[in-house]
Symmetry: C2
Subunit: 343 residues, 2 copies
């Protein structure tokens, strides 16, 4: 524990990123935004995580980020919540109400009596991570799902994509993972080209080794895959997928990235098509040359597999692209802004 | 009721088509295959309809097709079941076992003691409707789902497609209906072109009239659709779709057919892509010039909306294409064959 922090007198702020898979809290100095502590816990989606559990996860992340001795000095808190609507949708937007109620309860439990507590959508906090803290620009999220938003005066003014796995999210992790399984099935019945994805997907789904294609299947000069095994493969693959929630198809996205690195043509084409869809999603918001674009999610975070191909495809727009891992630094920025600092 | 039938002495056969939405029984003359009676009832999928209900539906269809006085003269029964595997998969294939058990119970209930009772997959009975009763050829089914099969010696030797709504069924009614909703969402956020499908889909999903696009939206020189309404439309459309089982997306397929007839470019492109997928599905089975292709399902039955474009696209193969509404005539043919007649 930071002894400076416990003995200090300066004001502190907390930024929270409450996402579908984890909640992260960051403690920072009010005056200069310098990070002083960090804590993570379980899922924080304001709509899908049950209320009491949401309070627990927020309180856990906060307790880990803010030492007991420092809790009295937190003057502003801001949280970005997956599942929370934005400010323009009104204070009674269901996700915002749930997020605000849970955050108040978590703060009370820890004895944090901040003077300003801000609840935001995760898109707002993600955008707030942009360098120089601009009020207008674009956000593109490509994780399990895919959505883009135009931000005006710090709130989303329009969105593109984000239609969920059944209807859209083209170019997302779900879409890439489903494409991997589709390519495997198409190779198996002869509609599609041989690909190493057939073996990789079958293994990941726990198919009996006896029905998998040979190890060199899909590789140049690789061994053929017998018709009998192809039929058995399909018969095992379909129920293995259908027995799990559809969104689990996103689990196979990393296989596609690896196969593309190993020059598998089918995998490479899936990723090219994914990047094309993401470009289309952000292009529907009519990007203006030079404006900021914050990108995040597993595919576009720093070192994300689609970050470089995406920025290459958008190069002609000269956007100021900032990849971020999560929105907690943006939440810190919004907390400082709400307290009248941070500009 | 046919009095000839009640007073006759000739042998009779029954063919059954037990599909996902209805069960149909056809009574026919053993000697010449002439249809003498017909009855329908509820769903007959051997895997998804609970056992007692399956027996009820089979018995109802049989009772309607076969007058009481004629039941003692039925010498052969054959049924084609959705959800039943084919003969080559063995007598203990789960769907076949369920179908056989239910059919025996239904026949016993009605006092029909046929000497031969055959259980088949619906693909087998569909193919058996082909003119001249060939043993080898192709079947293409495009209804809610889409699958093709190569038939050798009257049983499926290979299949293509049929991967279900989550992973495939490209070109099916589900795929077309989902494409309609996707096109509406893409028009609404600016990723896609204006289309009359936006209004049609919104109406079919029961959206408030106030959020629908103007009536002339998507028509040449049509009125624009305001950004505010587009956002409201998307906010209403997504939950309306997600609140229903995914397969209900197939309900919107007829809208696409109507819109394409009215020269909507987006709808026309959806149908062209659907036909392309169906051609690809059957092409994976390496069709040989002149061989029989039986097509069925809502999209390819006689007068089905994709029948003509599909046959046009396959014209170079000179296949003998037979569109059929259901497999019950094929089941009659198989019943007569099993009794040593019908060649």
């Amino acid at each position: 524990m930071n002894s400076d922090l416990n003995q200090g007198r300066e004001g502190l702020v907390v930024g929270l990123d409450a996402g579908g898979t984890r909640t992260r809290a960051v403690l920072a100095d009010l005056a200069d935004g310098r990070p002083l502590g960090d804590g993570t816990s379980g899922p924080g989606n304001a709509l899908t995580v049950p209320g009491p559990e949401l309070v627990d996860h927020l309180a856990e992340a906060l307790a880990r980020a803010v030492p007991e001795g420092a809790r009295g000095r937190v003057t502003a808190v801001a949280g970005g919540f997956a599942g929370a609507g934005h400010q323009a949708q009104g204070a009674d937007e269901p996700g915002r109400v749930r997020a605000r109620t849970a955050l108040s309860a978590a703060l009370a439990r820890l004895g944090i009596a901040a003077t300003t507590v801000g609840v935001h959508s995760d898109i707002e906090t993600t955008f707030a991570t942009a360098r120089g803290n601009p009020a207008d620009g674009l956000v593109l999220v490509a994780g399990t799902g895919a959505v883009a938003a135009r931000i005006a005066a710090r709130v989303p003014a329009a969105t593109s994509g984000g239609d969920g796995w059944l209807l859209g999210d083209d170019g997302s992790g779900f879409w890439i993972g489903r494409s991997a399984v589709r390519s495997a099935l198409r190779a198996a019945d002869g509609r599609g080209a041989p690909t190493v994805l057939a073996r990789a997907v079958g293994r990941e789904l726990g198919l009996p080794p006896g029905v998998l294609p040979p190890e060199s299947y899909g590789v140049a000069d690789g061994v053929a895959w017998s018709a009998v095994l192809r039929t058995a493969y399909r018969a095992h693959l379909l129920p293995a997928v259908m027995d799990r929630p559809p969104v689990r198809l996103a689990d196979h996205a990393p296989l596609v990235v690896r196969a593309a690195e190993e020059k598998d043509g089918v995998a490479g084409e899936i990723l090219r098509e994914a990047v094309g869809s993401l470009v289309e999603t952000v292009s529907a918001l009519a990007p203006r040359p030079g404006e900021p674009l914050v990108v995040t999610g597993g595919l576009l975070a720093p070192h994300g597999p689609l970050l470089t191909p995406l920025t290459d495809r958008l190069a002609h727009l000269a956007l100021e692209v900032t990849p971020v891992s999560d929105g907690s630094p943006g939440a810190v920025a919004l907390a400082r802004l709400a307290h009248g600092t941070g500009r």
